[in-house]
């Protein structure tokens, strides 16, 4: 398996606050990797640093063999990274179809075909295709955010807290879709506070505390770890 993402010594600071401290992580092609941790542990900061939304204070990010540490977010998107951001952040005054077209901004002529693929993946979006994204329910917005990220045909899908603020039923629906993507061979990086759902899906996981990786390994091993069980899986 080829290594698709390699991060070494990643540090992120906001003013004097160090949000991420010298984190190493890697993902190989076809893997699903989870970054777990409590609120404020540094998960979103890692995601933002990987996708070019925040400047790194230290370390290197290599994506498909290319050093992307200093590249802007649009260049990283062109290189094959796609983000499903925390809080969905769909374009509220655009329709569902327009949001998908934006997701396929770099997809050239494949946009129409991929839009159909996304409607097949999330039939609910087809029903809502002319509706403004702001008027969708939270779950539908999450479906749209995932579909929008997939429009480009990315090499790496980065999801930041996909279950946040959703009803348990909608979390199941969203995670079923993510599992389908995993089963089709998509490489996925999943930052998630809800350890139980993330570990049920991931191949490997990293546990963050106060910006540092305190535990890493196969998801099964983390599920069985007494500390993870006690703090993150409710005993």
């Amino acid at each position: 398996m080829t290594e698709i993402l390699s991060v070494r010594g990643l540090s992120v600071t906001y003013g004097k606050v160090q949000a991420v401290r010298s984190v190493d992580l890697h993902i190989t092609s076809g893997e699903t990797v989870a970054i777990l941790g409590a609120n404020g542990a540094g998960k979103s900061s890692i995601v933002r640093a990987l996708t070019g939304l925040v400047r790194v204070a230290g370390g290197d990010i290599s994506f498909q063999g290319q050093d992307v540490t200093r590249l802007s977010s649009d260049r990283r998107a062109a290189a094959g990274m796609a983000l499903v951001p925390e809080g969905r952040r769909v374009f509220g005054d655009m329709t569902v179809t327009e949001n998908l077209q934006m997701g396929g901004y770099l997809a050239g002529r494949a946009v129409a075909e991929r839009t159909e693929t996304m409607f097949a993946l999330f039939p609910r979006l087809r029903e809502r295709r002319t509706q403004l994204a702001a008027t969708l329910s939270g779950g539908e917005q999450q479906m749209l955010a995932i579909a929008r990220a997939l429009m480009r045909g990315p090499s790496l899908l980065v999801l930041d807290e996909p279950s946040l603020g959703l009803s348990p039923i909608m979390v199941q629906t969203i995670y079923r879709a993510i599992k389908d993507l995993r089963d089709k061979g998509m490489t996925i990086l999943l930052a998630e506070q809800s350890a139980s759902v993330a570990l049920s899906l991931a191949d490997r996981a990293y546990l963050l505390e106060a910006g540092s990786v305190v535990l890493e390994g196969p998801a099964r091993a983390l599920r069985d770890d007494p500390r993870v069980r006690e703090v993150y899986l409710g005993g």
Partner: protein
Amino acid sequence: MLPQLLIGGLGTGCIYALVGLGFTLVYRGMAMVNFAQGQVFMAGTFLGLYLARDLGVPAIPLLILVPAISFVAGALLEKLVFRRLYHSHEVFVVGAIGLGVMIENFVRALFPEPLPFPKIFGSGVYRFIPGVLFQKTYLWIVVITLILVLMLHIMFTYTRRGRALRAVAADAEIAGTMGVSVPRAIGLTFGLSFAVASIAGVLIGPLYFVSPDMGDMVGLKAFSAAVLGGINSIVGTIIGGILLGVIEATAAFYISTDYKDVFAFAILMLMLVVRPHGLLGRVVPVKV
């Protein structure tokens, strides 16, 4: 008399609308107000004056050349000046006002006296309705405004680049993760705002003697028009501009030309109190 007033108001209103569109485009993209818009409009007039009077460029090529040059100037100024001011709205506003003063003084150094603008659209009148005169220039103003609005609508709704500008306006960070170059999109937005205002400058030129301070009042009224219609709405700004032009012309005739300007700003203040998002400015409902 009223139809004649409406025609005059419609023409002036279209000018407010076009200059107001410059405010709207930048506001949608950056959530900031570019108070140099009036001076950009004036610079467009003088660029048109130079090209038409000294180089003999006719109307239609002029309406292509002036916005093309202004577009490049806008994109360049965004890169050289405005980009350094985004960190604070207050700094941006003061910087934009300063830039406006510089543009005005630069033009004044080149053209110190008020000047007549060549009658590039002809000097005849149409009589579509008996007893009502429709100057050719007014017809050009209305037709060009309609064409521009249609072109902008098509661009923003149906083109990839236009959708990208809307996406940047809505959430620049996320638009970047879709592959949109945000700095380029913002440069394009400024270029467009300059181009639209400069077209207004060429359209209004033949109606008056032109002078370097002509953009001051038009800029403020165009801002009022944008606020009246909804500064984040293109259609709203067009309607706001036309409404303002018509109200102003009617008030000037029935009340007094001395108080003509008061109406524009009274409407602005009333709108800010009663309906701050303007007639068509939308607050998009968010369902979570």
